[in-house]
């Protein structure tokens, strides 16, 4: 990469998004195939309800915090042809800010500005990221929240970190997995062995962080509940716990969920054969949470951002529902991990991982296309096998990641410089 300044990289990324946004407006105006994401219509409809002083939950399938619909209130302003796209601008701006913070945090870890920009470009100049936010998907906002969390943790802003985490969990639940990592990472230097670590676990920082996180989270919930009542709880939280999710998605569980949620007709040739009482779908959260929020946080002291990347990757991989928007959740953390990864130092392995990830995903998409648009029955074994293959590839990649962050004590092996973490007690 030629030597360019951070400012020009940000301008370039903004231009990229602006072009995508304008193209989207053009496509929406001229074609019946919409560029704008369906969810964006959900958000903006919800914002319209809010602007009429009613509840955003009057919009079917609005399953988010009311804050999102408040943020998008300007999309209801006149003239519509301008203000309607406000949300997309906001999401794109969130992207850029996330990218900027990625550069900042990477430099805390001793990356040179140029090298930080190179890795941040994975996010900033990624056409997939630019497309998702300019189509009006809110996942990019989450990216900026998570990187801001990382930034404030690294900057030792304990209260701010707690507040951001509380806000993030209110916004989209899953960031709760970062709580144990951050807590473990806040390790005082004067505790050499396990026993002293356990004895001295409760520190001021950890307490302050936990209390601010919990307070922020609960204050937001109580506030929203006071305004919107039961529907807020149902749609923002309970829905995600009770949803059926029988429709096809990338998750390896999806065929099973269809099978188990449907009424069962016994096979006339083997009427005795019934569905087993195996309820792995109900236990799906066990492997998911064990890996993502119990075991992986133990690596947090080695390398917090890479651990967070691994946690997110594991959380999404083992989730009961997986859609491509969830990939954004870990993509924003990828620049922190990739710099020290065997996937970079061993190009063959890196290419294999990328190719396998793309190919198994492509296989699934092919099967899903045949089902959804050609009406061909690909449920079993095609769609199932493709999802299983994608899952196993993800697990293999996760294994590589774990090997990287668990194998070394810190970032030094890749960058050659001591991480800033050495100057912990600042």
């Amino acid at each position: 990469m030629a030597q360019i300044s951070v400012a020009s990289l940000l301008v370039l990324s903004s231009l990229l998004r602006l072009v995508f946004l304008l193209y989207g407006l053009y496509q929406d105006a001229t074609s019946v195939f919409k560029y704008t994401d369906i969810d964006y219509l959900v958000f903006t409809d919800a914002a319209r309800y809010v602007s009429n002083s009613s509840s955003p939950y009057l919009r079917a399938t609005y399953r988010y915090t009311p804050l999102l619909s408040w943020l998008l209130l300007p999309t209801t302003f006149e003239p519509q042809f301008f203000w309607f796209s406000f949300g997309k601008l906001l999401f794109a701006a969130g992207d850029i800010l996330a990218g900027y913070l990625i550069i900042q945090v990477l430099q805390i870890y001793g990356f040179t500005a140029t090298r930080a920009m190179k890795y941040a470009s994975l996010w900033l100049l990624n056409p997939m990221v630019a497309t998702i936010s300019t189509r009006g998907s809110s996942e990019g906002l989450l990216g900026v929240i998570v990187v801001a969390l990382l930034w404030s943790v690294e900057k030792r802003r304990v209260v701010l970190s707690g507040a951001i985490l509380g806000f993030a969990v209110h916004f989209k639940i899953y960031p709760f997995i970062y709580a144990p990592s951050i807590l473990l990472w806040m390790q005082p230097p004067n505790q050499p062995d396990l026993i002293s670590k356990i004895k001295g676990f409760i520190t001021k920082d950890r307490l302050v962080f936990s209390i601010t996180a919990l307070t922020t989270f609960m204050a937001l919930n109580v506030g929203m509940y006071a305004i919107y009542g039961h529907p807020f709880i149902v749609h923002t939280f309970l829905h995600h716990l009770t949803r059926l999710d029988h429709r096809h998605n990338f998750s390896p569980y999806n065929t099973l969920l269809y099978l188990k949620s449907s009424p069962f007709t016994p096979d006339p040739f083997y009427p005795a054969v019934n569905l087993s009482n195996l309820t792995i779908e109900r236990l799906a959260f066990l492997p998911q949470l064990l890996i993502s929020s119990v075991l992986l946080p133990l690596f947090a002291q080695n390398d917090l951002p890479s651990t967070m990347f691994a946690q997110t990757f594991a959380f999404v991989t083992f989730n009961k529902v997986v859609t491509s928007q969830y990939f954004m959740w870990y993509l924003v953390l990828l620049p922190f991990y990739l710099g020290r990864s065997r996937l970079m130092t061993k190009p063959l392995m890196g290419i294999a991982a990328l190719v396998l990830w793309v190919v198994t995903q492509g296989l699934w998409l092919g099967q899903a296309y045949q089902l959804e648009f050609e009406g061909e029955n690909t449920f079993w074994p095609g769609l199932w096998a493709a999802a299983a293959g994608f899952f196993l590839v993800n697990c293999w990649i996760l294994g590589v990641v774990v090997g990287d962050i668990g194998g070394t004590r810190a970032l030094e092996s890749a960058s050659g410089t001591r991480p800033e973490k050495a100057t912990l007690s600042r």
Partner: protein, 499 residues
Amino acid sequence: MKRRITFLVSPQENEAPEDALRLAKDSFEIKGIKAIREDRFTLTFDELPQFVKDVVKQTQELHLRFDNGKNYDEKWKGPFASRLPLGVHILALPLRESKMTNLCSFISKYADIPCSLIEAAFISRGRLRQLYAPDANILSNVLKPLANKICGPSKKACKDKVLALNTATSLDLKYDAKSQTLDVNVIWATSDGNARDGSWDVQIKPETPTDKVEVGVLTNGGKTSGEEEISLRGKLAVVGQDDELNPALVTFPSRHHARQSIYMADFNRPTGLHPKLEVTLALGGNSPADGCTLNAYFTVPQPFFVDPYQLEDEKLMRSYGINKIKVVEGETDLEAPTWAMSKWGALVLAELDVEQYLSTWEKKRSPMEFTLPLHLRYMPTHPEKLSETATLPWPMVFWACPSEQWNKMSTNPFDRRMLGYDEYFPEETYFYHLTPKLINSTHSQSSLEVPILNSVDSQLIEWGTMGVIVVGFLWVFGTIIGSFLRSGGKKAAEHQKKE
């Protein structure tokens, strides 16, 4: 019980020969007449069987309609122009706060339509409740147990009469609490087969000497002065009372008229999980009157559903030939599978973009087309099937025109209201109905196959999924444990070195 029988002879048919109609002292004989036949029975509340009383006494107004979805052929339909999507349509207005539990148990007992509660099975339109079942065979299934119930087990003649309704093209039951009467209207497009070519050979007799049966054999009375009027001429007689046939010429404004335009519908292929019903109309180049709109009334049963938000997108709808969607009512949950649904589906009333079509008619001279975008719910798994057949009835397509004689419509002896769509138009409206044209099919409906998960390998799916998850989990778990052990070992080694 009052009874009125009308034979509507198409003007294209030869005039009925003199000896085709013979009125005797207590009977009326008809031979070799090709006609649409309508029988109308009017029963007072007291004349109703107890179980019917139980149902209707909970309702302010009850309309129960059936349409067999078959062709009327190209016959002249006179005042019988209105049709409905094939199957059963029930519109019920509860009396005060009634839950109409008897209606609910009636339909689940006789029509085998699941109904635990009206609220669970019917869709709500204000106070009105609506149910639809897209089954053309439902009538024959209902009539047998119903005949036993009404007639008792031994009365064969009575049962035959009830079972004769089986072949009806359409059947309407209407009760309202104000008049306390039940009207039963039956229309046969052709004779049910006692003559070779669908013509009628019948002898009509009153049930008892005191019963009156009014019979009319009517045909088109020619041009009328007003667009909204229909004129009928022919012969009338009250059997058992009149000694000879009386010539008749009646003219009345009619809410429903037929239009000589046909339409057909089918899914675009391949259908996938987001099928679209494409309707082609041979509309011709003009509207029947000033200020008319062209509309389509869909009843969309499970497993189909419409996305009301998609239908709100005016630009998209224009591209589908639809000006605007006037009404979407019923079950529009966008995510749930069929087995989580308790209601039958939803109705859609669309106003078609006819202006756009008519403005280019001179140049193109092509048929008009419009499309309704639909989606499919997931359907239950099955051990022997890879798909389920899903059937969508065709919509009714009609012009709605501003009426001047609307307040005289009720003088029409064949008037028909509360069909499911007319309530959405102002009272000052009359209709021109287009005729569905059936090619290679016997009913006005289109079907497609919905892929479902075959559950014959359910064990394999369960254990296979478990296996994959376990393998993936163990792999990750193993690398995590391995990392701990290695770093632990390293630490120990470092420790030793230092010492």
